[in-house]
């Protein structure tokens, strides 16, 4: 197998030609998106370079505290992102449920995946721990966002149905069953669809990255399969936890809809 072609800074800068070409076209067409395009390109570059330095340091100095601290930061960031997205629409109770579902859902899947599937040593090995945690937390965050959106929509649009069900003697759980099922579908469908298309319609990013950096495709494929199933598990578990406890946040202790 050939060695890896290391990408130099000049080479990276060369790829900025794409941006220049796109900017030129935008200008000619009069599409006013140059600013966004430039800012996002620079931000992406800056953020990744920074992350690169951080990761280089952490990989060189593996330390359980740093690994754990990074996971906590990732979790907080993910939860905060969901809160921001639904600013003003979440009750404190629902926020609590979101945070707990996120943490328990991802950490339990992550632990199983790293300790029993991949069996990393030492347990805090950042080279495995951090990227895999990132993928699980990131995908769960997307899943939870979709779930919260669908749940809020359902509880607003279908309020009458929920109320009528309760009038007829349904428990809050029965009354929200339809909404809950739809919400689970909405949250999990993107993950399922991406699994269906994988390898045929597109090559997943992680696998592509591994192959480009010299890993044999066979190993990369095995990793990809395992991580995809891990992601499916983490997303499902977070969303199930959210729904299991989240629907209650719309009711008070007397099983009445909170206005």
């Amino acid at each position: 197998m050939r060695g890896i072609i290391d990408l130099s800074v000049t080479q990276v800068i060369l790829s900025y030609i794409f941006v220049v070409i796109v900017l030129f076209i935008l200008k000619k067409r009069g599409i006013k998106r140059e600013k966004e395009m430039l800012i996002s390109s620079f931000r992406m570059t800056f953020q990744l370079i920074l992350t690169g330095y951080v990761l280089v340091y952490i990989f060189k100095n593996p330390n359980p505290f740093i690994t754990v601290a990074l996971i906590i930061i990732m979790e907080c960031f993910a939860i905060y992102t969901v809160f921001q997205k639904f600013k003003g629409k979440l009750t404190n109770k629902l926020k609590q449920v979101i945070a707990i579902a996120m943490v328990i859902g991802t950490i339990s899947c992550l632990t199983y995946f790293l300790m029993i599937v991949i069996r990393i040593y030492p347990w805090y090995d950042p080279q495995y721990f951090i990227p895999i945690a990132g993928m699980m937390i990131g995908n769960s965050m997307t899943g939870i966002s979709l779930a919260v959106k669908s749940l809020l929509e359902g509880m607003t649009l279908q309020k009458n149905v929920v109320e009528e069900a309760m009038i007829l003697g349904a428990s809050p759980k029965m009354a929200t069953k339809g909404i809950i099922n739809k919400t689970f579908d909405a949250a999990i469908m993107p993950t399922i669809n991406s699994m269906l298309g994988m390898g045929i319609i597109f090559l997943p990013g992680m696998m592509t990255g591994q192959i480009l950096s010299g890993t044999s495709p066979a190993t990369a494929v095995n990793y990809q399969i395992a991580i995809m199933l891990g992601i499916l598990g983490a997303v499902s578990l977070t969303v199930i936890l959210l729904l299991q406890f989240g629907y209650r946040s719309f009711f008070n202790e007397e099983d009445q809809l909170i206005q």
Binding site: E164, A165, I167, L168, E254, Q256
Partner: protein
Amino acid sequence: MFQFKEVKYKEILDLPDLYINFGITVLLGASGSGKSTILKMLNKMISPTQGTILYQGKNLKDLSSVEHRRNVTMLSQNPTMFEGNIRDNLTIGLEFQGKEIPDESELAEILKQVQLKKELSESVLNLSGGEKQRLALGRLLLLDPQVYLLDEPSSALDDNTEEIIIQMITEHVKKRDKSVIMVTHSKNIAEKYADEILQIGHGRVLNRR
């Protein structure tokens, strides 16, 4: 049966002392006077912001809301239909309460009772307001609670159908020793069927007969 003690609901209701007895009680009153709000408190869809309501001597606060709504069940002013056909909508309450679903002929009999000339398999999407109301009444009859809370059960019906429906309900509950608390705008209905009439105005009981 129901006893109100110093009950207030927001700025809407002020009921310092109110009894509602077994039998057939009718609430009369102008639009916006608080009739629907009273019914919603009786089945614990909402709770008073002040004071207590007793049901057969027990504080409503201490009763399980879901259980209570199975004993004291409301026909809402604008009943909502569920996905599915007429049969699904008739039986959904029984399903919620884990009760046995009667067979086809019994369900068809209920439709006849509420004067609905439709097939069980028909969709509910095209039903008129009055038809929906009667379908909802049908599913309430199937549940057969201890207390029927009826919020203008005949508001969308012609005089003739109204008479038949109210007559049927009152007979049904009397035969089975149940109670009805009914909101209506029809003085005529009130005089004819009520054991007791409560005149409601601005969230208070103005008068009782």
